[in-house]
């Protein structure tokens, strides 16, 4: 879902850079204020995991593939702020070293993958409450991670749709349904992976889910 260079009009690239910068500032401040140093290793390991997850595509249908985005998973591990920072670093590495996603579209990719992924944390929060059962929590994680992919794809579809490169093929009216068609399916795979990973963590090592701790209103300092 990484938008390559050249697909977006210059004004849109600049606009997305500004929007990404606003969210990055928000995330940076959040991390500085609350993120415990003892959790830096978890941030590093989970970023490495997300990098590998995004590198390995799984086939879906009709000769198309998808890959894990991992935004919701990061948010549950690290909390929304650190998830945005961590994912943005992964996207930066992909763009600079592997030409996966453009440099000029970096802002747009941060918004579509990192910001929407990180903010899916609040979808989990909305759908479950601190005392929810594990079933309800898993269902919320499933819906939130599916939404994060579908909304990210919708944002990407709108961005390329309003750009001049796609004007001749029909613009937003064509790109939005086409992108949603594939990403509804890719999102379901993402949701299945995220939900099973989260429930494994809950079973084996629930203290790792720092994001979940925030969700349940447990203070950082008290836990670590």
């Amino acid at each position: 879902m990484h938008i390559p260079d050249g697909f977006l009009d210059p004004y849109l690239s600049v606009l997305m850079y500004i929007i990404a910068l606003v969210f990055l500032t928000w995330a940076w401040r959040g991390v500085k204020k609350t993120f415990p140093r003892s959790f830096v290793s978890v941030m590093a390991v989970s970023s490495a995991f997300v990098f590998v997850g995004q590198m390995l595509n799984f086939p879906i249908v009709y000769g198309t593939s998808g890959h894990l985005v991992g935004g919701t998973f990061l948010a549950l591990l690290l909390g929304p702020h650190a998830a945005v920072i961590s994912m943005s670093i992964v996207i930066l590495i992909q763009a600079v070293f592997f030409a996966d996603g453009g440099i000029s579209t970096f802002g747009a990719n941060i918004f579509n993958l990192a910001v929407i992924g990180g903010l899916s944390f609040y979808a989990v929060k909305l759908l479950s409450n601190p005392s929810s059962s594990q079933k309800r929590l898993s269902a919320s994680v499933f819906v939130a991670s599916w939404l994060s992919v579908v909304l990210g794809a919708l944002a990407a579809a709108i961005q390329i749709g309003v750009s001049s490169m796609f004007a001749s093929v029909g613009g937003v009216l064509v790109t939005v349904p086409a992108m949603l068609f594939w990403h509804v399916i890719i999102g379901a795979c993402e949701a299945a992976i995220t939900t099973s990973l989260t429930s494994q963590f809950l079973r084996v090592k629930p203290t790792m889910l720092n994001g979940l701790a925030i969700l349940r209103g447990v203070a950082y300092e008290r836990r670590y």
Binding site: R37, S38, F51, F58, A99, F166, M179, E221, Y224
Partner: protein, 94 residues
């Protein structure tokens, strides 16, 4: 620290095992672009290891594995460094 090593080893094992099974089909966005017949413009930056290939080997497995391991190292160390800089010093250490 032991947990970190264990997790990284698990991720590397996952990478080693799953590379041959990774799909080379276009992803959702690439498929849409392809089906609409839009030409992908020449990239202004082609990266150091474009599309997860390592320049000095032609073996399709090794090239992905080496670039993946380099990426994994970067994706581990940069967030670590950024994390150290951003986090508050007064937090309780393990």
């Amino acid at each position: 620290m032991r947990g970190v090593t264990k997790a990284i080893i698990l991720i590397i094992v996952g990478l080693v095992v799953l590379i041959p099974f990774a799909s080379t089909f276009p992803d959702g966005l690439e498929k849409v672009v392809e089906s609409l017949g839009v030409e992908e413009p020449d990239s202004m930056w082609s990266g150091i290891m474009p599309d997860y290939t390592f320049p000095f080997t032609t073996n399709p497995y090794l090239t992905k594995l080496i670039s993946g391991l380099i990426g994994l190292f970067l994706a581990f160390s940069i967030p670590w460094a950024v994390g150290r800089v951003t986090t508050c010093k007064h937090s309780v250490k393990k």
